[in-house]
Structures are given as structure tokens and as C-alpha cells.
């Protein structure tokens, strides 16, 4: 059946690329000015009666022709287009290869280490897995790429990794979670490492753990960026990345190790909370936007201040939201003194005491975009919520499991940070040793 698709003009490069990927490179698109969301009807009418801002042709004619103009030979074409990636790049000078990586947008635009065969072979010593083993698929842009252990090693070399980091980087790659996504929303990831490998590779979980003062912390997050770009075909603004403002968290995805040695008695490491053994190592991914910290509160008791912060956050009935606490060990000790004998007890306290009225809930932008359609489709509990009065109170977070706690820091001050980070999954590192 003939279709006339209409998209706003800003996405023309994306449409052109995507049409090729789905084997319809001559898709008959019509573009209208951007944006159209919340634009009055009268303006929309002017748009439709005007010209396509990309082609300059009348929009009405374009739509009608999209449905009625006979197909050209190119539009009827069939066949298969292979896209084989050669194993090696070069030979060339180092200078030219560096330029090639930059020009092809294969980096984060900081200097990289060129992944020569020698350096990649050295990196491969960090895992027992053979170089040609297929690790999995990663989708950062608009298609999923498959890749081998050697490809992961090449990205690890580029990022400046040591061979010892390979099990972590391979586990991240095998997870299928891309560190960089395509969305216009500029969301990001947080990456947390737990278990013995933290100390084996010298990760910093103490003073300055979240700052750029440690090779493993810095490089593991950076490798996640390179894998998203190169293995997952993402990270090209205006083509495979559309975050309107971008996100500084993308530089290394808030990568840190939990300070397990400084957990109060009764507080489990995050990966143990998720079912791993203490002697196992795991990497956990989180989806979110930002971190903010305690200075916006005035309560003297930590749990009350934390509760205030948790009460500002997007309700997690909405699309992809959660709440994470990154606590200095001093703060964790204070919370124990305030009665929280486990991480779970604090998560449950926050879950129980952060309510939102349905009237407020339905006003959130992401609720309108994601939850309201689900409710209208009959998905519970949202469908039932639509029938209830506006002053009905619901939990801001769907479950205590969406409220994550980590201890990180060096006991120099009783600081903490919170963020809207939602768990995406925890993955075993040890199988990639």
C-alpha cells in the first residue's frame, strides 16, 4: 500500500540514512517545519499549504505525488547490499590514521591510542576468550552491530585501557546496553562496578572516585563510549545522536566502583543486592539524566533531607525514571544511626513516604508522552488511575527496587549526591576473565 510519511525538517538526514537501512532509499518523504508539537492548528495549516523546507516544493503536491506518481526503476529495485567491514585500516602514517579516526567520528575527540595489531594482541591477554569469538550485538544508533572479542579489544586500546580491564569492558559489551542512545532527550548512563575486580584493576572508590583521577575509572567509561560509537553505530550528532543539549555524563558515564570495604554492617554491596555473590564481580548500568547534591536541603537528619530530594524527582510511573543515592561512607554511617540498618530499609522508607497526587502525576511531560497512551491502551495500573480522583495519592516510585543506593567516597565530608538513575541490569564480569 502506498504511504506518504511526513517528518519535521530537522530529521531529514536521519530519515535519509534510515531509509537506506530498511532498503527503501527512495522513500517519498515530505518535510514540514520543526517543531510541530504544541504548534497551533492555524500554523500547521500554513505549513501544509506552504513549501517543504527541505525540497522547496509545495507540500500538498509532494504528499499527493507520494501516493500517486508511478514508481521509477530505482524505486522498484531489489537485491542485497553487503556491508563488509575490513579487519584492518591502513597501512598509513600514524598522523593520517589519527585524522581518519577523527574525520570518521570514531572517537570522543580527545586523543586516542591507535589500535595496532600489536597493542590489540596485548589487550587480548586480559581475557581467556579467543579474538574471533562473537560477543554479541550492540545498538546505539539505528541498527545493531555484531562484534568479536578482538573488536572490543580495539576499542579498549583506543580508550587507553590496560589488559586487566578487559573482563569489565567485555561484560559491558556483552550486556547489549549501549552507553549512548539516540534520543532527543539527552539522557545518559551511570556505570557501577562491584566485586573483587575493583581492587584488582585499581579502581578508585574513595577520595575523588567520580573525578578524573584514576585510569580504570576514566578509561572503562570511555571504552563504553567508543563501543557505542563503533560497535553500535551511534554517537554522531544530527545523524545517530539527537540529544538536543547532550549530556556531560556521556564523557565517561559516571563510572565508579562502590566502596564495599566501607559499607556499614548490614549494608550489602549493590551487586549482592542483585543476587550476585560477594566474591563475584559485576557491572551495573543505570539510565538517567543528572546528579544533584545535598546543598539544596536544610534538614539536619540525613534521611529527611534525602526524602526531600526524592520528592522532587520524576515519578517512576513515567517512562524510564528511578532514583539513586550516592552516599559518602560518613553519610551511610549517619543513616545507620538514624535507624536504617540496611540499604533496603532506606529504599523502602523512601518508597513509602514519597507520594504524589494523580493530578500532579498526569501533568508530567513524560507521563503525557508515555504513560497516558499506556493508560488509554488499558495497561494497569495506569488505566485504573485515570478513573480515580485527582487528589488520590500514589507512590512516586513504583517499587523500592527503583531506588538504588551506593556508598562511594573518601570520608572527607558528609556529602552525598542523588540522581534520577534507574537500574537497567547487572552483568557478571567473571565469565569474561
Amino acid at each position: 500500500m502506498p504511504i506518504a510519511p511526513i517528518v519535521t525538517e530537522v530529521f531529514a538526514p536521519l530519515v535519509e540514512m534510515h531509509a537506506k537501512l530498511v532498503g527503501k532509499p527512495h522513500l517519498r518523504m515530505t518535510y514540514v517545519p520543526h517543531p510541530i508539537s504544541r504548534v497551533p492548528a492555524a500554523t500547521c495549516r500554513k505549513y501544509i499549504e506552504g513549501n517543504d523546507p527541505v525540497t522547496g516544493r509545495p507540500i500538498i503536491d509532494e504528499i499527493a505525488e507520494a501516493l500517486t506518481q508511478p514508481l521509477s526503476g530505482e524505486e522498484k529495485r531489489t537485491g542485497i547490499e553487503e556491508r563488509l567491514v575490513p579487519r584492518l585500516m591502513g597501512p598509513d602514517t600514524e598522523e593520517n590514521l589519527h585524522r581518519l579516526f577523527f574525520e570518521n567520528k570514531m572517537t570522543d575527540f580527545l586523543p586516542i591510542v591507535l589500535p595496532t595489531e600489536e597493542k590489540v594482541a596485548e589487550m587480548l591477554k586480559g581475557t581467556s576468550h579467543p579474538p574471533d569469538e562473537v560477543v554479541g550485538e550492540l545498538r546505539s544508533g539505528y541498527e545493531a552491530g555484531s562484534f568479536t572479542v578482538e573488536k572490543v579489544a580495539a576499542n579498549a586500546v583506543m580508550a587507553g585501557a590496560k589488559p586487566g580491564y578487559m573482563p569489565v569492558i567485555l561484560a559491558m559489551a556483552a550486556s547489549g546496553v549501549a552507553a549512548i542512545a539516540t534520543s532527543t532527550q539527552s539522557f545518559a548512563r551511570m556505570i557501577v562496578i562491584n566485586g573483587p575486580i575493583r581492587n584488582e584493576i585499581g579502581m578508585n572508590s574513595g577520595i575523588g572516585a567520580m573525578s578524573p583521577f584514576n585510569q580504570a575509572n576514566s578509561v572503562i567509561g570511555r571504552a563504553a563510549t567508543f563501543m557505542s560509537i563503533n560497535l553500535g553505530a551511534g554517537g554522531v550528532p544530527g545523524l545517530t545522536y539527537w540529544g538536543s543539549q547532550g549530556n556531560t555524563c556521556d564523557y565517561n558515564h559516571v563510572t565508579f566502583a562502590e566502596r564495599e570495604e566501607d559499607l556499614p554492617p548490614g549494608w550489602k554491596p549493590y551487586h549482592v543486592q542483585k543476587g550476585f555473590k560477594p566474591e563475584e564481580s559485576a557491572v551495573s548500568f543505570f539510565h538517567g539524566y543528572s546528579l544533584w547534591h545535598w546543598k539544596n536541603t536544610y534538614e539536619k537528619e540525613k534521611h529527611k533531607a534525602i526524602l526531600r530530594m526524592a520528592s522532587w524527582n520524576l515519578p517512576s510511573g513515567a517512562y524510564q525514571s528511578g532514583f539513586s543515592l550516592l552516599l559518602d561512607p560518613i553519610v551511610a554511617d549517619d543513616l545507620v544511626r538514624e535507624g536504617f540498618s540496611s540499604k533496603e530499609s532506606l529504599s523502602e522508607f523512601i518508597h513509602k513516604n514519597t507520594k504524589v497526587t494523580l493530578e500532579e502525576f498526569w501533568q508530567y511531560h513524560l507521563v503525557e508522552g508515555w504513560t497516558l497512551p499506556a493508560a488509554q491502551k488499558g495497561i494497569e495500573p495506569y488505566a485504573s488511575w485515570m478513573k480515580q480522583p485527582g487528589d488520590t495519592l500514589i507512590n512516586r516510585y513504583r517499587s523500592p527496587d527503583e531506588i538504588s543506593l551506593f556508598v562511594v567516597g573518601g570520608r572527607t565530608n558528609d556529602f552525598w549526591q542523588v540522581g534520577d538513575w534507574r537500574p537497567m541490569g547487572s552483568f557478571l564480569i567473571d565469565e569474561w576473565r
Binding site: 502506498p2 532498503g23 532509499p25 514508481l71 547490499e81 602514517t93 589500535p115 595489531e117 573488536k151
Partner: protein, 94 residues
């Protein structure tokens, strides 16, 4: 001169797909206008219907909202259009 390992992943081959046969004209046809439900863009679909109804009075234009959010598929609607329509205009946000 040196060579380096290409860090790019391997992406699947692209199967070229012929486009659907076009209509001889819009006259006497039923054209669905599908709003994919990007928030607050329904007015564009409505104005397309209004403008095209004036321009093509012998064509029936039917506006339908896809169910679910803009990223969800709606096979039932596609089946309905296939059965009852002759073509479709799809509006996508933002």
C-alpha cells in the same frame, strides 16, 4: 606506515525492498491519516485532513490515532488500513 584493527562492528546486509505500487489517482479513494501520537501534534493530522478534503473532495480522508506511545507498533490499525484503505499519510513528531 602502520595498520590498525578496525574498531567498527559488523552490520547486516541491506535487503533492497521495492516500494508499493502507487494509486492511479486519489479520486474515490480512502486515505488514512495516521497520527503516531507524538505529544501535542494531533493538530497537524487534522489540518492535513482539512486541507486535503478541500483540495480532493472526491477522496475520503480518515484520521486515526495509533494506540500506545509513538514508539509502539499497532498491527491492528495497519490491518484495518490494509483492508479498508487505499493509501496512508503518516505524521511523525516532533
Amino acid at each position: 606506515m602502520i595498520s590498525v584493527v578496525n574498531p567498527r562492528g559488523q552490520f547486516p546486509a541491506v535487503q533492497q525492498a521495492p516500494m508499493a505500487t502507487r494509486l492511479d489517482s486519489l479520486n474515490k479513494k480512502t486515505i488514512y491519516i495516521v497520527d503516531v501520537r507524538w505529544p501535542y501534534t494531533h493538530q497537524l493530522a487534522e489540518e492535513i485532513r482539512n486541507v486535503f478534503s478541500e483540495r480532493y473532495p472526491d477522496t475520503k480522508f480518515v484520521i486515526r490515532e495509533k494506540t500506545g506511545s509513538y514508539m509502539e507498533d499497532d498491527p491492528k490499525l495497519w490491518a484495518e488500513i490494509q483492508e479498508q484503505g487505499n493509501g496512508a499519510i503518516l505524521t511523525v513528531g516532533h
